[in-house]
């Protein structure tokens, strides 16, 4: 895969260079900050943390000089989506209601990265509260696709994906509730990993749909994603839904031998009106994988057509609940020009939340209200259980499921923003993994004739993240050979 911008060395080699004094952490951070400035016009970043990052780099260099171990990710710069809390820094989730909010603590994922010497250089743009698939719902500005400035980078982790594609950092953190890591990774020719639900702590990350939210890296390779996952994954006493990481870890993976590997092609995904260029790229990759000895077969997930509807009930329900705390009373935007409490709530939330947040709050409030709960929320939960069973049955036949990430190529800015339903359809192939809680990746496999990125989605069994990444490495090797 040819990428357009200056690329970083693999993360492990960068850290090794810092540890062995071949390069200083400070120079890595300076390079990152320079790249951020150079590509400012893409609006990938909400806030640059120049002083904090340089101070941190200085400390790492001091560690190295004193012969202390600065960690597995020593001096490696990264960008966090602006829904990760970072101590003493502004965290907005790209929303007006949180503008100016200074976080008094930080996300477990950030702390784990910092403990291994990684350095957060900036906060990336997103659709406000991660509601969207284009970053057009950011209350601040739209991020532009690095491969075509008139197009969206995908979302909601659009800023993170664009930042990695533009070479600002070797990796960025994103969140994926219905495809928010994989879809922008596909739109920006980056590698995106949505790990197994619970593998990475959600503590300190602004919640969207708590039963669906996953935290993961956006990188330029599967190997780099594994290196980052190795650091951020594992149980956290502050998040009761976390699970143990793989006892073997993730960072030492190598490309999976494709001989005899059983891979299922999700039949239903192929009939969803997928863009022809995406279908062609997918088919050619599938043939390529088959040629290396993998067993490919079509798999049916009969209820997957209901996944999107199911998602757009469960997710807004949780959103309406999770956004209740933003009332302006303790922090965030408050409109004091009111006579009583209720109008205070209405004014503050009415002005502070953007259109999409309000839309989801209304949908969620509706499906949870008495009289509608059984017809919507409960039914959606039943479908969710059915989906879990169907995926389980599929994984009895094959080890991996493969398909497109998105039905379309990166779309034009403004093309879908007038029609929210159209925008929701961008998630049609990604929400399944969130509802079921399984790991899934987006691997860049080709460019369209207009040079727009195309991604491939691979899903695996719950807790099989390690093998999923090893398979991804093998597919990357095939793509590189081809090119």
């Amino acid at each position: 895969m040819k990428r357009r911008w200056g690329q970083w060395e693999p993360i492990e080699s960068l850290a090794e260079s810092v540890r062995s004094k071949r390069i200083s952490a400070t120079s890595l951070i300076e390079r990152s900050l320079k790249e951020i400035k150079t590509y400012q016009e893409y609006n990938a970043v909400i806030l640059t943390l120049e002083n904090r990052a340089l101070a941190h780099a200085k400390q790492i260099d001091k560690f190295v000089n004193e012969g202390k171990n600065p960690g597995k990710l020593a001096g490696v710069p990264f960008i966090a989506k602006d829904n990760f809390l970072l101590t003493d820094s502004e965290t907005t989730a790209a929303s007006n209601i949180l503008k100016g909010f200074i976080a008094p603590y930080q996300a477990t994922a950030i702390s784990r990265l910092e403990a291994e010497g990684a350095i957060c250089v900036a906060k990336a743009n997103l659709d406000a509260f991660a509601h969207g698939a284009s970053t057009e719902n950011s209350d601040f500005f739209v991020t532009k696709n690095p491969y075509d400035k008139t197009r969206v980078p995908g979302g909601s982790s659009g800023g993170s994906a664009a930042a990695v594609a533009l070479g600002m950092v070797p990796f960025a953190l994103g969140t994926d509730t219905g495809g928010s890591i994989r879809q922008p990774a596909a739109f920006c020719a980056a590698f995106g990993l949505k790990p197994t639900y619970g593998l990475v702590s959600r503590n300190g990350v602004v919640a969207m749909g708590s039963s669906l939210d996953c935290i993961g890296p956006i990188t330029t390779s599967a190997k780099d994603a594994a290196v980052v996952l190795d650091v951020i994954s594992g149980q956290d006493t502050l998040d009761s839904t976390t699970v143990k990481s793989d006892p073997k870890g993730y960072s030492d993976i190598s490309a999976l031998n494709l001989g005899g590997v059983k891979i299922g092609l999700v039949k239903e995904y192929l009939n969803q009106g997928v863009n022809n260029e995406i279908t062609v790229a997918l088919n050619s990759t599938v043939e390529h994988i088959r040629s290396r000895g993998a067993e490919m077969k079509e798999i049916s997930l009969p209820s997957i057509d209901l996944a999107l509807a199911c998602y757009y009930i469960i997710c807004p329900a949780e959103v309406s609940s999770n956004l209740s705390r933003y009332d302006g009373v303790r922090y965030g935007y408050f409109n004091a020009d009111v006579k009583d409490l209720d109008s205070g709530y209405i004014r503050s939330r009415g002005i502070g939340f953007g259109k999409e947040a309000k839309r989801r709050i209304m949908i969620g409030t509706f499906v949870l209200s008495s009289g509608y709960y059984d017809a919507y929320y409960k039914k959606a939960m039943t479908v969710r259980t059915k989906l879990i069973e169907e995926f389980k049955a599929a994984f009895e036949q094959v080890d991996y499921l493969i398909g497109p990430v998105t039905p379309s190529l990166p779309f034009k800015i403004g093309e879908k923003s007038a029609n929210p339903l159209d925008m929701y359809l961008a998630d049609v192939m990604t929400v399944g993994a969130n509802l079921v809680g399984i790991p899934a990746v987006s691997i860049p496999i080709a460019f369209s004739k207009d040079n727009l990125p195309i991604g491939l989605q691979v899903m695996a069994r719950q807790r099989d993240d390690r093998n999923l990444l090893a398979l991804s490495m093998a597919i990357e090797e095939l793509i590189n050979e081809r090119d």
Partner: protein, 485 residues
């Protein structure tokens, strides 16, 4: 017109919020003891509703809920879940309360109690764990309100009864027994003044087979107010019906100053709390082994003690006094003391009477300091008493004096003698000597009588001489003074 009221049957159900006696809050590591803390000092990320903060369940609360289930004569549910109950209020930082709506930790159970010699049983519908909200204050005459989040996240067990009560007395007796059950099981600190247990009473009246419309009077924090509020509601509702009006379903509050219930809000438009399962908290799953381990270490129940005391032939009134005093003054360990006496073959009934008649009244008046040293005191008093050397008045005097000391005297017999409380043959001997001394020293006697204090010393010296140093000078002094009064 009381006789007319008899046509009406009141029906009462009670919801009780029991504050669990945990070190920390239900979902955060902040301290659960807000009694003496400055406002908003016991507040963690989740208690403040910060973005990204997640609840972490406190297992101590689970163990206490299991104890509550056992105290209510049932077993806890092995699978229970948490839900979110949504409403907006400044003292509810997350905009929802975490509670157990669908699958609570306790389903079923009962409370048995005695009232005026009759046995009653009130069935328990359910009991669920939930996090308390913070406290809102509305200073009079100000244009602002204040919120204290110290209480936000405090673990509560809400115990819901079936509508099995039919009088204010029954309601009060149920509340009292529930309180005892929870206190004896160690579920709550039970400080009613600080709202450790709050009662909501649902009252309806009916003169036919169907239940009437009920009112709910919330946040009663004493047994007396439970009784009064129920009585007030029964009368208010009967009056309404008799005057041709209807009872409206509504929430009311008890005004202690006015001694009446007041309307808080109507329930015509039922609140929609939009309950949903809390995705941040996995289900609570326990097994029988886990429950059994707790059952094996359950403290004795009030009924266990009642039976024990009954065997000692104590009256029901005395049993009540002891049962209540045992938790009102936990450090005194009254019941353990009685049991120990009984087990050692000592006279436990007599001890119980000392406790009821002397110790407990003094302790109530804050006049005892002895604490955990009671044990030794009563054993020695018991020994001394067995020798029959103390009158009952002197015995009471001795116990009273000793209870006011932190350390009981080293040798209680010597102490009693020094205090002049022992009726021994020695003391008759001493009397004889003193009478002799008085007879032989008229000058000194008349000096004492005319207020010459030094002369007493002379007389005591004579007594000492005559008794060859055996007499107790203190006691001698008192007897001489008595005789020369």
């Amino acid at each position: 017109m009381m006789s007319n009221n008899l046509e009406f049957t009141p029906t009462i159900g009670i919801e009780c919020h029991v504050q669990l006696n945990t070190q920390t809050k239900l979902f955060s590591g902040a301290s659960n003891d807000a009694r003496f803390a400055e406002p908003n000092t016991l507040v963690n990320h989740i208690d403040f509703g910060l973005p990204g903060a997640l609840p972490v369940f406190n297992r101590e609360a689970l163990n206490l809920a299991i104890k509550a289930a056992l105290a209510l004569k049932t077993r806890p549910q092995l699978f229970s879940t948490f839900d979110r109950k949504h409403y907006f209020y400044p003292d509810l930082p997350m905009g929802y309360q975490i509670t157990q709506y669908d699958q609570p930790i306790i389903i079923g159970g009962k409370v048995d109690f005695k009232l005026e010699g009759k046995n009653f049983t009130v069935r328990i519908t359910r009991a669920h764990l939930e996090a308390d909200a913070g406290k809102s204050m509305h200073p009079a005459g100000k244009d602002y309100s204040l919120v204290d989040l110290n209480r936000a996240g405090t673990p509560l067990l809400e115990i819901v009864s079936e509508p099995d009560m039919h009088s204010a007395k029954e309601a009060k007796a149920y509340a009292q027994e529930l309180y005892l059950l929870m206190r004896y099981a160690g579920v709550t600190a039970g400080d009613l003044y600080h709202g450790n247990m709050r009662f909501d009473v649902n009252v309806s009246v009916s003169n036919n087979r169907h239940l009437g419309v009920r009112s709910e009077t919330k946040n009663l924090n004493s047994f007396r107010s439970v009784e009064k509020a129920v009585n007030y509601e029964i009368k208010r509702q009967i009056d309404l019906i008799k005057s041709g009006k209807i009872v409206v379903q509504e929430t009311r509050g008890w005004d202690e100053a006015k001694q009446k219930t007041l309307l808080q809000r109507r329930k015509e438009n039922a609140d929609d709390y939009r309950y949903m399962p809390d995705p941040d908290l996995p289900p609570l799953v326990i097994d029988d082994k886990y429950v059994n381990a707790i059952a094996d270490n359950m403290p004795y129940s009030p009924d266990f003690w009642r039976a024990k005391l009954k065997k000692l032939h104590l009256s029901d009134d005395h049993i009540d006094v002891l049962i209540n005093a045992n938790i009102d003054f936990m450090h005194a360990k009254y019941l353990e003391l009685i049991m120990e006496f009984d087990e050692q073959g000592l006279n436990a009934t007599r001890l119980a009477n000392w406790l009821v008649n002397i110790d407990i009244p003094l302790t109530k008046e804050n006049k005892t300091k002895i604490g955990s040293n009671r044990n030794r005191l009563y054993k020695e008093v018991n020994d001394l008493n067995s020798k029959g050397t103390l009158s009952s008045t002197n015995l009471k005097q001795l116990i009273t004096v000793c209870l006011s000391m932190v350390e009981p005297p080293k040798d209680i017999a010597v102490f009693a003698e020094k205090e002049g409380l022992i009726q021994s043959s020695d003391s008759t001997e001493l009397n004889k000597i003193i009478e002799e001394v008085i007879r032989h020293n008229p000058k000194a006697v008349s000096d004492v009588r005319s207020g010459e204090q030094k002369a007493i010393g002379y007389l005591i010296g004579q007594v000492m001489q005559l008794s060859k140093g055996q007499a107790n000078p203190e006691l001698s002094k008192r007897i001489i003074e008595e005789k020369l009064k």
